[in-house]
Symmetry: C2
Subunit: 459 residues, 2 copies
Amino acid sequence: MSKKIPTRIYLSEDEIPKAWYNLRADMKNKPDPLLHPGTLQPITADDLAPVFCKGVIEQELDDTTRFIPIPDELYDFYRAYRPSPLVRAYYLEKELGTPAEIYYKFEGTNTSGSHKLNSAGPQAYYAKKDGLTSLTTETGAGQWGTAMSMACAFYGIELIVYMVKISSEQKPYRKALMEAYGANLIPSPSDTTESGRKILAADPNTGGSLGCAITEAIETAVKTDKCRYVLGSVLNHVLLHQSIIGLEAKAALDNFNIKPDIIIGCAGGGSNLGGLISPFMGEKLAGKLDARFIAIEPASCPSFTRGKYAYDFGDTGQTTPLIKMMTLGNGFMPSSNHAGGLRYHGMNAILSKLYQDGLIEAKSAVQTEVFDAALRFMKVEGILPAPESSHAIKAAIDEALECKKTGEKKVILFGLSGTGYFDMTAYSSYNNKTMNDQIPSDADLEKGFASIPKIPQNG
Amino acid sequence: MSKKIPTRIYLSEDEIPKAWYNLRADMKNKPDPLLHPGTLQPITADDLAPVFCKGVIEQELDDTTRFIPIPDELYDFYRAYRPSPLVRAYYLEKELGTPAEIYYKFEGTNTSGSHKLNSAGPQAYYAKKDGLTSLTTETGAGQWGTAMSMACAFYGIELIVYMVKISSEQKPYRKALMEAYGANLIPSPSDTTESGRKILAADPNTGGSLGCAITEAIETAVKTDKCRYVLGSVLNHVLLHQSIIGLEAKAALDNFNIKPDIIIGCAGGGSNLGGLISPFMGEKLAGKLDARFIAIEPASCPSFTRGKYAYDFGDTGQTTPLIKMMTLGNGFMPSSNHAGGLRYHGMNAILSKLYQDGLIEAKSAVQTEVFDAALRFMKVEGILPAPESSHAIKAAIDEALECKKTGEKKVILFGLSGTGYFDMTAYSSYNNKTMNDQIPSDADLEKGFASIPKIPQNG
């Protein structure tokens, strides 16, 4: 007899995963390696040492170890806000009148408001372990900066956050929250770096960009030996840390003998999508799970659905290693939209490879239809979703309504990666019907593609 | 052998209380009845019928039924966000180096961000049951308005919220959230009521006040038979609904055989404090629990610590029934401070009576020391507390540090009534050191006391 499924399924504290799951270990077709932009040879730990902490470099390059233990001191950090709930969307199912069973893994119960904390903790921990005293990073929408501020407060490490200038002006509350956690916020471009000064000299009134903030953060990090740089998405070690989302979701479903038929995540750089799907994809690769995987991205920044699979830089400043990924080109400028966390030109290499191999489907949505879905969800489920996460809600509702047509009782799992408390401007613009949907033209895309470096694109 | 206590203690869904606890039933010395302001006789159900829903009137007047069942349809509402976690503050204990055990009941995991939803749900439900189509209310800081917006969206009832004009201008995000839930926000004073028009005629540029918003909301509610008024604090039925906080907290502690020595709640109108302490006070009255109860209020609005025990109006417009309570006088104007939810001149009648009888202690704190405590808490516990709730943190830290001095291993329980996502202006002003502490002078208090009606104040 099957157990009654509660609205919120909580694991016990003892069920917080003891190890991260490294999906690459189970991929027969591995993603292509990061390349050094100068030599075009696979990048080495030594190449990365001036920029990143030792612990994460090891994880970034490891594509064979299946489970990587979570250190005890880090378990202490996770225990402060995990396990996160897996919610059975009874209310949404009723509202839609669907025979489908809908579940969502909710990562917004911590104060940073998103899943970003899952990687911020480990990155601050490894910095502490390396004896570092400070870290630098950049933030646009602010989720990552907030998560790092919390993690650095926890481990007693100084944090410098280069915040895109226009964002720091538009989001004073995000700034206040990071500052309350003790972070040092610097609007970017700034006069604290050579790259910042150059940009300011050319255009003193610029609002800045994420690419510029990354460049400033890296420049500051490599200046001293007691400081390193941290990044909240795109890279493989971030996906590894985020696998805790999928591991907990799977453990909770396993406790009730439930197998998902469809797994959905919103996609920007890939941290939330990759973290959620990793253990399920591992089962699929092992022939133990017959499920569909759906990535959903904004139509304004369609790296999966309209991008190219190519080696490209991770930043617009062209300073990072080359990543083989789905990309719109590092020079692509997404139109402004309210899902700032999804406005990235590229996509994590593992996810890009899975997409190439037909293991992940991808869809895009315009923002008004994403907010339609968000409102429908929040009125019955009582959670204010982030615009990013609302993409997954949109895709889940579409699949559930398809089930309504066909009468199929499928099990849908989606990732609700965060809350929208700092995105009320977006909700206001939706309420006031001033929200626009912007889709790049083919000509816009061609301009972006032109920035992809002209190197041998084999593989 | 005692079980290991997890960081977050969750009850199962089946353990959500099936009935509210009515503390008055167990009080030998009952609070004095509400009086009709015209006749000065105890108020009757008929007197209240034009203003409130039937279900809540019955509860307001019932001081004998110990447990009042929670209807099934309402259990459906509670199940959407309850049980809320009881957190063992391991991290705070470590930070303080105290031998005390600290627990907090966290009511901020729902989207309204506070405990207010616990009474908003029942009040919307009873309105639906009475066949009403709309409700009116007022909001200042916005927590109650948000909670009612969510509850009315859930039960399909129209909601008109009179929002203090200056608040609606200063808190556009609160407004956006309520509107996203479908509420009709009207800045008060407005031209939709006679009382609003009068005030506007006298002063077209007024920023409004809570007193005025209440008067407008009641005026609109009594205009039609399909509409009633709802209030989020002060009244006894609100305390009854909020007893779910204390019942869950007690059930969670009971599961681990833990008895609290000190129970702390922040105090504005009393809804959170009363809800948290009710079942524990019931045990104390029955001689089964030897605990101290501490109310903590802002020094800028000290109704317990510097108020009078007297019959007074609940609103500055002097339209409500008379309540025997600790009061600063309905004409008292608290200086502006960042804990908007605690800026109320009076105090729930039950709590006032318990205070008179020496069963509750009271303290006050100035806002900079409250924010000192909030920052200390949020850096280690990872939760952004509301300014209101931070008063309880302040008192809990003080008690824990006292234990550090004496070496006593006391068990401290406090209510963390909500989150501070919409209070970042307050955190900014704290970060920037522009926050002021304002304490009313004796002359300020005398002015307030002068507004207490001159009626026989027996009892």
